[in-house]
Symmetry: C2
């Protein structure tokens, strides 16, 4: 079973960094010789949505840095309506920290931001982990009007984290049990929490998803410009961003390994990883660790 | 770089097992507390086609058993024209050895045989690795008339292993270099080699591929009957058995993790694994090892 560690998103204080663009909230914990690993968050998620079972083990041997983009939580500014706008905020934040190169874990929307950053400034990332996300020109990205998502999102009996348990985890007993444990971990943090995102955050981010589905020229050709070693991860039953999008990443990124997981829904970073703590196959976290600690 | 080990397919003597069905050639090497890992071979391949860079590291902590099915190499009998017929031979062989349960690595045709065995006798496998293969009802399985395969297969300048280098590895410098190293490893074995397969072997195995593409009832429903933890592995540019077939395995097997590799062609067990020895991403062998050595 998972246990809280000394370096944890459960206890790390929220910090603030003023830059020429905005003031960004972030958390930073862990230590070691490895390059820092920056986490870029999913749709409407704040710093409080990072599962300590994912972040904390990765803070062994390196620092983990959780970034709150503009207009989220206690970061100032407005949420951009394009992924490129979000990438500019993340780059301004890393510049403000004085980080020239790091590793990145981009989750869903955060994975799109990571791809855009790698294209805009290739030197910013050594290695990338793209979880439950899609390439520009991908399809059916966060279509919240589809029935499997619209029903739980509109259900008045599902509030707050309970919605996440419903839509992030497959409707199997094992996956829902992993979902309940995930929610319990998220609620362990006492105080110093971020404000929950409102409808204007969702609206701007959905505009960014619609824009990300568009492409010009040869589809997926831009992926050839991302030369970093990339680990692409997804659950095969992803309802929010279908796994087909991860297949395209694996097929078109020149140096990507794809891993897909069974019995895990929209958010394999959560569901399959937490699942990996309780029953086999259990190599998601070791994989992440192996990949990040290899010499470059 | 790869170096030959004490327990190796380069030096292990070929052994023979007489059963009620046929007399089978096989090799058996390595030792340790793990369950034996049985290797099931690809189209027209004999015991001499197993890359020591793949087999030997897996013979640490357990025995590796390479099986020569009926009508191949020095095994007696005829090559069956169905996967089910081949599965019956493999089960007769394991029965003859007195093995009640083992792990399996099935490669291409061998992966189909492994699936059939798991359906016919679920207790025979604890864990399965399915490399560069397809489910029953898959598509474009070994269509040797397609141009990318027909040309090298008909090229009079390509003989023996040189054909394999051409069709097993992607047409990139890095992949072809890995291919040359692969061929060099295969030629290291001195004597006690198997006869090379003739056209009658190819003909029967191709008949089995055509039969394997057919299905009745709900497509891929039979995969739900394979409850074992399965690691599915493929290269994204597989010309012989397109990676789409591995996606179907990952989506329909109830407990499968899929890994795909870049810059690797039809035979990721060879190309991506050998590749993994020379440059990142390099976790194919560690993964295999991790998976197999986990407690069940």
């Amino acid at each position: 079973m998972w246990e809280a560690r000394a370096a944890s998103n459960t206890s790390a204080p929220t910090q603030f960094l003023a830059t020429g663009k905005e003031k960004y909230a972030y958390r930073r914990f862990g230590e070691g010789p490895g390059l820092p690993l920056v986490f870029l968050q999913h749709f409407t998620g704040t710093l409080d949505n990072w599962d300590p079972a994912v972040t904390d083990p990765l803070a062994t041997g390196r620092e983990v840095i959780l970034f709150e983009s503009a207009g989220l939580g206690r970061s100032s500014g407005k949420v951009p309506e394009t992924v490129a706008g979000m990438a500019a905020h993340a780059l301004a934040f890393l510049d403000g920290l004085g980080l020239k190169t790091c590793d990145v874990l981009g989750f869903s929307l955060g994975g799109m931001v990571a791809q855009q950053m790698a294209l805009d400034r290739p030197s910013i990332f050594r290695r990338m982990i793209l979880v439950g996300t899609a390439p520009r020109g991908g399809e059916l990205i966060m279509h919240l009007d589809k029935r499997s998502l619209a029903e739980p999102l509109a259900d008045p009996n599902l509030k707050g984290y309970a919605v996440l348990q419903k839509i992030f985890f497959a409707p199997t007993d094992s996956s829902q049990a992993a979902g309940a444990a995930f929610i319990e971990r998220l609620t362990k943090r006492n105080g110093d929490r971020e404000p929950v995102s409102g409808p204007q955050v969702a609206q701007a981010q959905i505009a960014a998803f619609r824009d990300w589905e568009k492409f010009s020229g040869e589809r997926f050709a831009d992926l050839r410009g991302i030369r970093q070693p990339v680990l692409v991860v997804n659950g095969v039953h992803d309802e929010m961003i279908p796994v087909r999008n991860s297949y395209w990443l694996g097929e078109n990124l020149p140096n990507a390994v794809l891993m897909t997981y069974p019995d895990s829904d929209t958010v394999p970073c959560f569901s399959s990883t937490t699942r990996s703590l309780v029953k086999p196959p259990r190599f998601s976290l070791p994989i992440f660790r192996m990949r990040l600690t290899e010499s470059s």
